[in-house]
Structure formats: structure tokens, C-alpha cells
């Protein structure tokens, strides 16, 4: 390679080289160590399985169901997390009163409750939506609470001096000020929402990508299992990127909007 004036070139090529190297190493390991394809297939086999998977009849039903569960759960988590975060951030009595429950939702291993949710809400999408929402709730809630409590006291004085109503104070100061925090919570929340839907499908149900991965494992189609994981990764990445893009749309004034490009 000849020298380049662009300092960014190596920073693009290096990660690509690392990824390529990773797959080459993976292939070499599987061949040299003669790893069984039932344990770890070669990357090329996974890629072939992936192409076959997305061409299969009915795969998009699984994708659609998992997406629906994830997004519905995420929506509920935003609705409840933001409202509760705002109320607790503004009303000290509510914060004190609900503290034990909040700590409980944080420390209870929620995954352990998944069978219970299946029992309560059935094998349909409802139980997965609930699990998804429960997992995504906490980061959204706690970041909203932090955002509301972090409103600059100098800004609050501006609103006091100019005799703002409570509604205006909320809509023009507290909400915009907390929005970068809420978006951070949503970025963490969307990933957890996907996990919630998949884990729900693992435990009970007959449709969705989580269900599909369990079935492929039972049929010892390990390459297809990896293909399902790949598909899930791509869905997860797209959702995460979409939520991240909200930042530039909603809080262009905030430093975080231009970070991490």
C-alpha cells in the first residue's frame, strides 16, 4: 500500500482487517482442531445457512412477531418509565414512598420471573411484551429520574423570576433538559427489550426468533442457530441505531448528539 494523505484511512482499514482476521482465524481453528460442525460451524457455513434462512417460507413471520413483541414492550417501558421517572423526580414524597419497589425492581433477577410471566400472561405475545417491558423499564426510568433531578438550578431560577406556571416549567425546561438522559435510557432499554422478547420465546411459545433458535438447537442445526443469532444481531443493531439517531433529531443542541460518530 502506498502512503496516503488521509489520516482516516488506517482507522477505516484497521477494524476491517481485524474482522477479516477474526473470521480467518475462526476457520483455521475449526479446520486444524477438527471441531465438529455440531459444536462450531465454519463462518462460511453459517453464511450459507443465513442465506437459506432468509429465503425460507415463514421466516418473516418469526421476525415480525419478535419485532412486534420487542417494540410493544419497549413502548410500554418508555410510557411507564418516563412517567414514573418524572413524577418521582418532581414529588419527593412519591420518591420516598416508592423507593423500596424501585430498589426491588433493580435487584430482583428478572429473568428468573420469566416462567411466572408465561404462567400469568399465556404463551402468546402478551407475556413476551410484558417481559420485554419489565427489562427495558429500569434504565429508562432511572435515567429519566436522574434527568429530572439534574435540571440546572440556575435555569429553574430563570423560570421563577419570569413567573412560569408548573406546566410551562415542565414543558419548556424540565422535559427538554431531561431528554438527553431519557434517550440514554432508551438506548440501553431497546437492547434489553429485544433480550426480553427472545428469552420469553425460549421459555414458552411457538413462534418468533427465540423459539426458532431453540428449535434449531434441538434439531442440531447449529449453523442455522448461528444464522438466527446473526439475524437477531442485525435486528438489534438496526433498532439501536434508530434509537441513537433520535438523539440528533431531538436534542441537536446537546453535546451527545455529535458524539460517537
Amino acid at each position: 500500500m502506498t502512503t496516503s494523505k488521509k489520516p482516516a484511512l488506517w482507522s477505516i482499514l484497521l477494524p476491517i482487517a481485524m474482522v477479516v482476521g477474526f473470521f480467518v482465524g475462526w476457520t483455521a481453528y475449526v479446520r486444524i482442531a477438527k471441531v465438529s460442525a455440531f459444536i462450531l460451524p465454519e463462518p462460511l457455513a453459517i453464511f450459507t445457512a443465513f442465506i437459506a434462512l432468509v429465503q425460507e417460507d415463514g421466516i418473516w413471520t418469526h421476525v415480525g412477531v419478535t419485532l412486534l413483541e420487542t417494540l410493544s414492550g419497549f413502548a410500554f417501558a418508555i410510557l411507564i418509565g418516563v412517567s414514573l421517572g418524572v413524577v418521582m423526580g418532581k414529588v419527593r414524597a412519591v420518591e420516598v414512598a416508592l423507593k423500596p419497589f424501585v430498589v426491588a425492581t433493580q435487584v430482583i433477577p428478572k429473568i428468573a420471573l420469566v416462567p411466572l410471566f408465561i404462567l400469568w400472561f399465556g404463551f402468546g405475545p402478551e407475556s413476551k411484551i410484558v417481559i420485554s417491558a419489565v427489562l427495558a423499564f429500569f434504565p429508562i426510568f432511572s435515567n429519566t429520574l436522574l434527568g429530572i433531578k439534574s435540571v440546572d438550578s440556575g435555569y429553574k431560577e430563570v423560570m421563577t423570576v419570569f413567573e412560569s406556571s408548573r406546566t410551562h416549567r415542565f414543558a419548556l425546561l424540565e422535559l427538554p433538559s431531561a431528554l438527553p438522559y431519557i434517550l440514554t435510557g432508551m438506548e440501553i432499554g431497546i437492547v434489553l427489550a429485544i433480550i426480553g422478547a427472545i428469552v420469553g420465546e425460549f421459555v414458552g411459545g411457538n413462534v418468533g426468533l427465540g423459539y426458532l433458535s431453540v428449535v434449531t438447537l434441538q434439531e442440531l442445526q447449529v449453523d442455522t442457530l448461528f444464522a438466527v443469532v446473526l439475524l437477531l444481531t442485525m435486528i438489534g443493531l438496526s433498532l439501536y441505531v434508530m434509537v441513537s439517531m433520535l438523539r440528533r433529531l431531538l436534542v441537536p443542541w446537546h453535546g451527545s448528539a455529535s458524539a460517537g460518530q
Binding site: D152, G154, Y155, E157, V158, M159, T160, V161, F162, E163, S164, S165, H168, L172, L173, P176, S177, V251, W253, H254
Partner: protein
């Protein structure tokens, strides 16, 4: 007294006002026995060393603190409410609003319609020298321009009394002189009562009709000076012997406060 805007200026009166803060180590008297009458339309400067309670006094007048004893009245010819507006040490502009939206914010809080309040904001941009930056984000402005915007925001409600807490404290000396000239012009245009806090003697003498010198621990009114240079005062007034003499006088008094 009425300014050219046709609005009556505010009157501020304090009688025997104390302000005591409850600190962890016990009560701290920030202000003691303050008697102060500010006539409508006057430009009054509160001057004193750090910790003399001048900012606390301004915050009392602005309704951001409550007096511990005594009576405080602010009568105002402002259009509504208390008619008091404050520009703080830091501009405190909301970054999610443009410059004009920031300036129009107090009017929005009072329920003024969008077209009317933005028209007013644009007129104020012109008054404070921010034309061309109406749509800009506050983040894109220099420190001096942000303070202009903050003052324009305070002026948006046509306040009877304008309170300024070292609004140019963070600016360099040259910008500061320029801003003080502008402030004098704006005050002469609006005719409102102004109370300004500073610890710069030259700034106080340049701007004030009346200087209230505060002494520290606890904050008390030490001495008052009438400043009678003709208006509008050019920046050169600072090199006149009378100006220098007054500055020297005040500096002498301030030196007396220095703890041995």
C-alpha cells in the same frame, strides 16, 4: 417617572431587612439592618467586596430569597406581575431554544402569542445589537453576545425594575467597557429602574446615579454616593479628574474593610 416606552419604572423599598442563612455550622447573617429606598428610574449600583451580601440583596429584591426580618416592597409599573426581571452573572440561556426564542421566553410564559412575542424578540435583538443572530443557537454566540441576549430576555417583559447581577463579570475588559456603554444606552431608552451588582469600582462610577457601598460580615450599607456626571457618559469620562477622585475615595473605603 415614565420612560420613553410609556411604562412606569419600579420603586424598591427595604426597611430593617435582615437575611440569615442556616448553614451547617449555625446561622450566618448575610445582611443586617438594610434600609434602602430606590426611586423609580434610577440606576443604582450595589458595590462591595466578595461576601458582603450584594448578590443576596439583589436576590431578595428579585424574589429569589425571602427576608428573615424587616419589610421589602417592590412597587412596579411593569406590565404584569411583580415587574421585576433579572439578568444573572451567567447568561442561563436554554440551549434547546434559538436566541429569539430565549428572548421571547418570558412573554411565552405570560401567554403572549407566538407572532407578537417573536416580533418583540427581534426588536430587542436590534436594541442589544444581536441582529442577524435571531435564529442562532446560544451555543454559537460569544460570551458577550450571550449576555446581551440574557439582558434582552430580561427586557422582554418591559420590567419596571431590572436587576443585573455582575452581568459582565466574565468578560474581558474591552468587551466590558463596550457592554457598559450599551447598557447605559439601553437603560436610557427603556427608562426602567436598574439595580446592578458589581465589585468593579470603575464600572460602578461609570454607570451609577447612586452607588450603595456595602461592608462585609455581616453585610450592611456602609456609605452611599451620588454620581452626577452628565448622561450619556462617554467612556472617556473615566479619565476625568472628578471620576478618578471618586474612584480613589471609594477604593479608600473598601481598603478599610480588609481584615488585618
Amino acid at each position: 417617572m415614565k420612560g420613553p416606552a410609556g411604562l412606569a419604572a419600579g420603586r424598591v423599598a427595604l426597611k430593617g431587612v435582615d437575611k440569615i442563612f442556616q448553614a451547617e455550622s449555625g446561622p450566618v447573617t448575610a445582611l443586617k439592618d438594610i434600609d434602602l429606598e430606590i426611586a423609580p428610574g434610577r440606576f443604582v449600583v450595589l458595590l462591595g467586596p466578595s461576601g458582603c451580601g450584594k448578590t443576596t440583596l439583589l436576590r431578595l429584591i428579585g424574589g429569589l430569597e425571602r427576608e428573615s426580618a424587616g419589610t421589602l416592597t417592590v412597587e412596579s409599573g411593569g406590565r404584569s406581575g411583580t415587574g421585576v426581571a433579572v439578568a444573572f452573572q451567567d447568561p442561563r440561556l436554554f440551549p434547546w431554544f434559538s436566541v429569539e426564542e430565549n428572548i421571547a421566553l418570558p412573554l411565552r410564559l405570560k401567554g403572549v402569542g407566538k407572532a407578537e412575542r417573536l416580533a418583540k424578540a427581534r426588536a430587542l435583538c436590534e436594541l442589544v445589537g444581536l441582529q442577524g443572530f435571531e435564529k442562532a443557537s446560544p451555543n454559537a454566540l460569544s460570551g458577550g453576545m450571550r449576555q446581551r441576549a440574557a439582558i434582552a430576555r430580561a427586557l422582554s417583559v418591559d420590567p419596571g425594575t431590572l436587576l443585573l447581577d455582575e452581568p459582565f463579570g466574565a468578560l474581558d475588559a474591552m468587551t466590558r467597557d463596550q457592554m457598559n456603554l450599551e447598557l447605559q444606552r439601553i437603560w436610557m431608552t427603556t427608562g426602567s429602574t436598574v439595580v446592578l451588582v458589581t465589585h468593579s469600582i470603575a464600572e460602578a462610577v461609570f454607570l451609577a446615579d447612586e452607588i450603595v457601598l456595602l461592608s462585609p460580615r455581616p453585610g450592611r450599607i456602609h456609605k452611599r454616593y451620588d454620581v452626577t456626571f452628565a448622561r450619556p457618559r462617554p467612556i472617556d469620562v473615566q479619565s476625568s479628574p472628578e471620576f478618578q477622585e471618586l474612584v480613589r475615595d471609594i477604593r479608600g473605603e473598601l481598603m478599610g474593610f480588609a481584615t488585618p
